[in-house]
Symmetry: C2
Subunit: 362 residues, 2 copies
């Protein structure tokens, strides 16, 4: 069965990722960091961004499109800002390092913003907000990605799915972890519909002419995803506005490739017509809670906030209100017991890496 | 005709607003500031937030629910943060003053975040981002508002329409000004449908039981608006996540009333069951462009960004991609010539203020 799942110990997958990165000369500490970003994604049930992507990183490193020994450096700064040049390194290494710089600055000044150029895909946006939580900070994280999304009323791919994440610590309750792509849906859902030969809902995507797509192939073959809100009537201009905000903060501010010029992440994706900067871009923002309010009071109120929203009267036929971050937290608890479920296609990819590198997998 | 429009000189309306605020003892400089926020809204074609709201401010001031002589003060700060207590003043005065504090701090540190409690409705979110543009800064602005929106899978009003604005300066092109409510639609659109006795689109609102509303009355009578994205399939959890982010940054961080406990803005709205803080909350963030990149380079890239997106292949049957801020900028040009169009109902409200205060209007 194509959809059958095999369970793997998280630490075993993390170590395989680390060794794969090391194979290309990524320094051990960096390779470990990168593997941790992928591992968190798998643990939180965001399989699309975990080891399922390792083969793409493998391809990019094999082709020399990513610099394994990147020298991540600050190229401009003020007390509460910095621009970081990622030296075309793994986003999984550049992102965590730039986020650290932002947290260090925020600890000194109370808040800080760090924009990053010359980087590559950085994994799940929530990783960075969760790292801020570990230091009792509020952190937001954004990145641009390869073009997939049309602006409202546009008929071509111009923006990535440009996610926004932010997390807030609570006291007795688990933290609120918000992580959302600014597109109406994920490309992965189009792929699932294609595999099942199913129609897609009105509002997810357009075909190559700019008309609403009803079949997944229409999007895949030169069409585009729609921004969050989908149509003008339902607020598609808002999703476009949010994606634009992410694009400008991550790329125009840092000197990275914005909009349709973001370089491709996978081999099958086309190379953009021109380059307007270096690599893709991220943007991080961090705030000290005690720069605003007593942290104990903040957390007490967050507990109250979470309990109040959890107690919202549920809409008929639904499970009721879900606090942002709850599904991923529950997945984490589950996977700590069961291990990480992988599809056969992903296992085949990992075995292929094993064959090519000699790193044992099985 | 109920929908007939009469045109008024912008300066005349602004002055009438200023004198109305002064009537209640608001100091002249503050009254002028407040009137400018309303005037910008009318000029930009956001009639719902301009003088059309003056009677509500009038009501709140008459009842002593807003402090006309508010002493806006910083109650906690670090170099790049502050919490501002608005002393229950007009949001139209507290907001601009807190935004100034944020801009001053960002000019020193490179970036800053200011959260505001004990305030009231602050007009259009874009006003604050536009003020930052005037100082060549990038500024974002958020506020919570009285509850109107259900979380995804909830059956009751728990959040406001919680807008987010941010603006980016360009060189030769006009700035990109993004300003969006995190709900699928505006309450004003429900009111228009009600007046026209029309149905509302699937995804705008639910009825009081939590089922999708098809008639505007179903939302008005105890129902709720839906968050941006509307349904789970179309990303309604994302709109809920964004509205939650705004709620927490504006209120939990500052000590204001969050979620369903935001105090009402209009007399007809119910008083919340309990109070969890002071007034409503805003949050501002400001960044120096030269904290990241040469401003001339940023603006050159923004011109390129704007021209590239404006040249997107248009979807059939649409006017093509609209750059955020363009519709409001065009309204501003138009209204500078024609004056501000007001509905008879708004004119009647202003005349009522005139009768009750003795301030001439006509």
């Amino acid at each position: 069965m194509a959809d059958e799942l095999t369970y793997y110990a998280p630490e075993r997958l993390r170590e395989f990722s680390q060794r794969t990165f090391e194979h290309f000369g990524v320094p051990s500490a960096d390779a470990k960091l990168a593997s941790e970003v992928l591992a968190m994604s798998d643990m939180r049930g965001i399989e699309s961004h975990g080891v399922a992507r390792l083969h793409t990183y493998f391809d990019m490193l094999t082709l020399g499109r990513i610099n394994p020994k990147a020298n991540v450096k600050i190229i401009r700064e003020k007390p509460a800002t910095a621009t970081v040049d990622g030296d075309n390194g793994l986003g999984l290494v550049v992102g965590p390092k730039a986020n650290e710089i932002c947290m260090d600055k925020a600890e000194k000044s109370g808040s800080a913003v760090v924009s990053v150029s010359n980087t590559n895909h950085y994994g799940i946006a929530a990783y960075y907000s969760i790292k801020a939580l570990e230091r009792d900070l509020i952190g937001w994280s954004m990145t641009n990605t390869t073009k997939l999304v049309a602006p409202l009323w546009g008929a071509e791919r111009m923006l990535g799915t440009n996610p926004i994440a932010i997390a807030f610590p609570a006291g007795e309750e688990p933290p609120v972890v918000i992580d959302l792509a600014t597109s109406a849906t994920a490309y992965g859902k189009i792929e699932i519909a294609k595999r099942k030969n199913a129609e897609i809902p009105h509002g997810w995507a357009i075909d190559k002419h700019g008309n609403m797509a009803t079949r997944p192939e229409q999007m895949v073959e030169g069409g585009a995803l729609l921004p969050l809100g989908s149509t003008r009537e339902m607020g598609g201009h808002k999703g476009f506005g949010l994606a634009s905000m992410v694009d400008i903060l991550c790329c125009v501010l840092s000197g990275a490739n914005w909009g349709p010029y973001a370089p491709p992440f996978a081999l099958r994706q086309e190379i953009p017509a021109r380059s307007v900067g270096k690599g893709i871009g991220h943007c991080f923002g961090v705030m000290r809670i005690d720069g605003f309010i007593e942290p104990a009071e903040f957390k007490r109120q967050m507990d109250d906030w979470i309990r109040t929203f959890r107690a919202t009267k549920p809409a008929p036929g639904t499970p009721g209100v879900v606090i942002p971050g709850d599904p991923e937290r529950l997945a984490e608890i589950e996977r700590a017991k069961t291990g990480i479920p992988l599809l056969q296609a992903v296992i085949n990819d990992l075995k292929d890496i094993s064959t090519k590198t000699g790193i044992p997998f099985e």
